[in-house]
């Protein structure tokens, strides 16, 4: 299995992006789970926030290699994210929390009536940190 403690390469964006992106990492780190995400210049996993014109997606998660040495890249499409909302910082955070959920082995749109950061159409104004369902899912996976 992929490990719940991993590092990502440091990123350096303007404060409108850097702050909510850092909050996304912290949002996972404060959960009662084995998750611990740090930054390290030697990390193989990366997070980038960039303009991808002509694309309709907000975020992409791409794994590389095989478990337990899996690493990943996460791409945030700044063009789409900036268009989609006025509550910008929460939306950036929500998107990265969601994509990091994939790095923690969570799947898209779980079948549940509970709120999950991985569900489609979740209201990011209200839900931009891992929810109890996500926490349970991670603990079930790693414990």
């Amino acid at each position: 299995m992929a490990l719940p403690a991993f590092s990502v390469k440091p990123y350096d964006y303007n404060s409108l992006w850097q702050v909510p992106m850092d909050r996304a990492l912290s949002a996972w780190n404060v959960t009662p789970t084995p998750v611990w995400i740090t930054k390290s210049s030697s990390a193989k996993s990366i997070i980038v926030a960039q303009q991808y014109p002509g694309k309709t997606w907000f975020g992409l998660y791409t794994p590389h290699g095989s478990k337990p040495d899996r690493y990943f890249d996460i791409k945030l499409n700044s063009l789409e994210i900036s268009k989609a909302t006025t509550n910008f910082d929460k939306f950036v955070q929500y998107n990265l929390v969601h994509e990091l959920g994939h790095a923690l082995s969570l799947i898209d749109n779980p079948v549940t009536s509970q709120v999950s950061i991985m569900k489609y159409g979740v209201d990011f104004n209200l839900y931009y940190v891992p929810q109890q369902y996500d926490i349970n899912d991670v603990n079930n996976y790693y414990n």
Binding site: D12, W17, Q50, Q51, P53, K55, T56, G59, Y61
Partner: protein, 204 residues
């Protein structure tokens, strides 16, 4: 006792053996490694919302083939700090920051919204494709099948092929009776009557 093969049998066997040797000496292309990626998109609450967001709504038939492309991030222009986060990606590879997608050609049979005409061929983006021996597959996405007839809600661009608003909700397959079939997992349903009402502006 050693039995001798009849000459005719020898002649028949030797070419087969030679063929086997010849075949085994041919380079066998390796199976592409498969990478399954996940993407998140805007979700739409109704067909009316799909309709109002799309620039182009068409019925079309998927043509053979496709072009695999890689899109690298656009250069930052720094004018809007929300759209342009800044930052440097020096040292990162195409694999790390590029996005692999395939442009399929579709022949339009009917235009319901937007500027296009029946009979026109246009490019439609589909995320993923095979590049450098790696097959990129989008989790949960249903690829456009050659010759299939589809209803598409698209966003159009000056410099890129049109893109479905999302891969699940913005495409419906046409059935043999001319009705629309949602992709598995898409809870939205659409009928010709609803599309006619949207075209006529009777639904907002």
């Amino acid at each position: 006792m050693i039995r001798r093969l009849k000459p005719a049998l020898v002649l028949a066997v030797v070419p087969v053996l030679l063929g086997a040797v010849a075949c085994s000496s041919q380079p066998v292309p390796p199976e592409p490694q498969t990478v399954t990626f996940s993407a998140s998109y805007p979700e739409y609450s109704s067909v009316a919302e799909l309709w109002s967001t799309a620039d182009l709504v068409i019925e079309a038939t998927v043509q053979p083939g496709g072009r695999v492309m890689v899109e690298m991030p656009a250069a930052d222009d720094g004018t809007d700090p929300r759209a342009d986060p800044g930052g440097s990606h020096e040292g990162l590879t195409e694999e790390q920051v590029g996005v692999v997608y395939t442009v399929r050609t579709v022949e339009i049979s009917r235009v319901l919204k937007g500027t296009a005409s029946a009979g026109q061929h246009i490019g439609v983006q589909e995320m993923g494709g095979t590049r450098n021996g790696v097959r990129y597959v989008e989790a949960g996405a249903t690829l456009l099948a050659e010759k299939s007839r589809v209803l598409l809600f698209l966003r159009t661009y000056a410099d890129f092929a049109a893109a479905p608003l999302n891969p699940l909700q913005a495409r419906f397959d046409l059935d043999s009776h001319g009705g629309y079939r949602s992709l598995p997992g898409n809870t939205l349903r659409v009928t010709k009557a609803e599309l006619d009402a949207l075209r006529a502006g009777r639904v907002s």
